[in-house]
């Protein structure tokens, strides 16, 4: 464990062999989210407490009297992972300061899905980040309410058919664009914000490790491929995650102290159709809608590049003094 701590970056051989999120859970075949959680836990290490919002992950991992968790784990409700996580952080902090628990750095981590983060959990997430708890929040975004049967959320992409945004004669499916929660977190002045994907395991784990070291709030938005909800083949999970990045649909970047950096560079973006065509949720799309999606992806990607090229680290921003004269 100490060896890993001394390295800034992970290499495959340095990954913890210990399993903190164990096999035997009930996730669907090809679940990108379960894979991501396993990797996240390995990057976090044993000195971690996880607060889990209601969703697929709580359901598949905690059938009483069994548990897949080898980390201390707590679940209360759907929308309050950040609130419970901030309580865990405050409790551990007080108990450690008062000498009631061992004097050791134990990280509080809150996890929830896109519904539990971007919709119903937005308030408690915003509150926890604003208060500045030493808390890592990871959103595992599979782009709909998969646990309840694939209903649309604010994370569902434009054009996707879900059970509450179905495609029909009068509709091409989801009519709104995905909410940009990482950007909302940056607006909270959170010191570390990143997007991630288990299809890029070392990139993901490095980000988790970086976030763990932040003494304050941090946020990782992890795209989690859901074969069940996306109507994609379960053996294509890793490939789907890669295509999301290669097409620019879900760029991998981090924002450290306000400084944007793309962590997985893509020389030339592939057409979005390469990503859409493997997924049944986009099967109904006509070329004109695909064109709209393509334009939007370019636009968003350019917005991101603008930030990467134009924005400075907050700590580099110094006033010349005129403001106060």
């Amino acid at each position: 464990m100490n060896i890993i701590e001394n390295f800034e970056l992970y290499a495959p051989r340095l990954i913890d062999k210990e399993e903190y999120f164990c096999s035997g859970h009930r996730a669907c075949q090809g679940c990108g989210e379960a894979l991501a959680i396993r990797l996240m836990c390995k990057a976090l290490g044993p000195d971690t407490v996880v607060a889990n919002g209601t969703g697929c992950m709580e359901v598949i991992s905690s059938f009483y009297p069994t548990t897949a968790w080898n980390l201390p784990w707590i679940h209360l409700a759907f929308e309050n992972a950040a609130a419970v996580g901030s309580g865990v952080e405050a409790g551990l902090k007080a108990l450690r300061r008062k000498g009631k628990i061992p004097d050791r750095d134990v990280k509080a981590v809150a996890i929830a899905g896109d519904g539990g983060t971007m919709d119903i959990g937005m308030q408690s997430l915003s509150g926890a980040m604003e208060r500045g708890h030493d808390l890592l929040y990871v959103c595992f975004d599979n782009e709909a309410y998969m646990n309840t049967g694939i209903q649309r959320s604010s994370g569902t992409p434009f054009g996707a058919a879900t059970t509450t945004s179905p495609a029909g004669r009068a509709s091409f499916g989801q009519k709104t664009w995905k909410k940009n929660v990482p950007e909302i977190m940056v607006a909270h002045n959170v010191p570390y914000v990143a997007t991630a994907s288990p299809s890029y395991p070392l990139d993901f784990m490095n980000k988790v490790k970086k976030a763990r070291k932040v003494k304050g709030p941090s946020y990782i938005h992890c795209l989690s491929v859901c074969p069940t909800g996306w109507r994609s083949a379960s053996n294509l999970t890793i490939k789907m995650g890669r295509l999301a990045v290669e097409t620019g649909v879900f760029p991998l970047y981090e924002v450290e102290d306000g400084k944007y950096r793309i962590t997985v560079e893509v020389d030339e973006l592939r057409p979005v159709e390469d990503y859409l065509k493997h997924q049944g949720r986009f099967r109904h799309l006509t070329p004109d809608v695909i064109e709209m999606i393509q334009e939007r992806v370019y636009q968003e990607y350019n917005k991101l590049l603008d930030k990467v090229n134009g924005l400075h680290a907050w700590s580099d921003l110094k006033f010349e003094g005129e403001l106060f004269e």
Partner: protein, 391 residues
């Protein structure tokens, strides 16, 4: 030495929490709880206690946040009122099911609508079945005593349940009363640091709040009911201990001039003291009246209630909340059901009083006693009635 001071009861509630060596509190402000929140934050800001004070963005988060902290083994406190308590509603049964010893003060206030910040019990009544221990205080002294006792009761290893201590908003929280504060050393002796059975810590990883399938859910619910019913004996034990150390006796059902009374009135909360004055006046007139005050709303003290009313001919139950479309106020429904199997039981009347801060002074209680007595004498049995309400 215990000291007696004149103090606003809301401030005193925070002072009592400050004596309990809490590790963490999370509070969201709401009238009339706000003085508790403010003063507790002052106690922390002045370094008088070593605790994390988390100023959350909602009551849903305050209850979630203290639950997370409680699960790490911390001693925690929160306080709320009215809409805030309703906003917590979703989380309340989870806290009790997870057996987290959260202590919460509730400054009782009416619920919307119309929006109203004044006192009644319509906020706590919808939380009846959340599985919490629910206590009512009658005056400022009781608020202080019950607050300190609550931590000991909640954390008792045979109890392990959250407690909601109700104190009437404004009538109690904003009233200055003479209160005797116990000696800190004695409080420390009465209330040693929390010894949790299982906590969220990597040295012994546990999973809390897991999924219960149909084959286990019913057992989980039953065991929770058993735990709440069993908690009464430990509450009584702790009240005995309190009496031995501090001299004040607490009972699940308090009585006032009730032993030989033919007509009893039942109250819950701060109106009990007003009703006592009415009892005194009527006793002087020669009317055989007395008072029964419910302190413990959950677990409901059926045995104590039966013993208290067994000789009465008429029992007037007062309610400070409405159960719309039901057979009466919530307290009345509970009391009537509890006495149904008794061979000897009094006639039971129900007045719904004091909604949304409507004042109920002594003459009103006198009138209620007299009106119910006359009605009963004529053999008229009525269900619930709104006292002094137009329309």
């Amino acid at each position: 030495m215990a000291k007696r001071v004149g103090m606003e009861v809301g401030i005193a509630a925070a002072e009592a929490v400050g004596m309990c060596n809490i590790d963490m509190a999370a509070v969201y402000p709401i009238t009339p709880q706000s003085h508790i929140a403010e003063h507790l934050s002052e106690i922390v800001a002045d370094g008088r206690i070593d605790a994390e004070f988390v100023t959350v963005e909602s009551e849903h988060t305050s209850i979630s946040c203290v639950s997370g902290a409680s699960a790490t083994g911390a001693r925690v406190y929160t306080a709320t009122s009215s809409q805030g308590l309703l906003y917590m509603h979703e989380i309340l049964p989870i806290v009790s099911a997870m057996r987290l010893p959260v202590v919460m003060g509730n400054a009782n206030r009416a619920i919307s609508g119309p929006i109203n910040i004044w006192n009644d019990h319509s906020d706590i009544m919808p939380q009846r079945d959340a599985g919490w221990i629910v206590l009512f205080a009658d005056n400022g002294q009781e608020v202080v005593d019950l607050t300190i006792q609550s931590f000991k009761i909640a954390e008792h290893k045979e109890v392990m349940l959250p407690i909601c201590l109700n104190m009437d908003g404004f009538q109690l929280t904003h009233t200055v009363e003479l209160i005797e504060f116990p000696d800190q050393k004695k409080v420390d002796k009465f209330l040693p640091p929390r010894k949790p059975l299982a906590t969220l810590h990597p040295d012994n990883p546990v999973s809390m709040g897991t999924l219960g399938m149909p084959e286990i859910y019913a057992e989980a619910r039953k065991s929770q009911d058993v735990a709440l019913i069993n908690s009464k004996q430990y509450i009584l034990q702790i009240w005995d201990e309190w009496e031995k150390m501090f001299g004040r006796r607490y009972k699940p059902v308090e009585t006032y001039r009730a032993d030989d009374a033919e007509i009893l009135m039942l109250t819950m909360g701060s109106m009990g003291e007003t009703a006592e004055l009415a009892v005194d006046q009527l006793r002087e007139k020669g009317m055989s009246v007395g008072l029964v005050k419910l302190r413990l709303w959950r677990p409901f003290p059926f045995e104590e209630l039966k013993a208290a009313v067994k000789n009465a001919k008429l029992l007037i139950v007062t309610d400070r909340a409405v159960s719309f479309g039901g057979s009466g106020g919530p307290v009345y429904i509970e009391v009537k059901a509890g006495l149904y199997h008794e061979k000897e039981r009094p006639l039971i009347y129900n007045y719904i009083i004091g909604l949304g801060g409507r004042d109920v002074p002594v003459p009103c209680f006198v009138e209620m006693f007299e009106a119910a007595a006359q009605s009963a004498e004529k053999g008229i049995v009525k269900d619930y009635e709104y006292y002094g309400v137009r329309g």
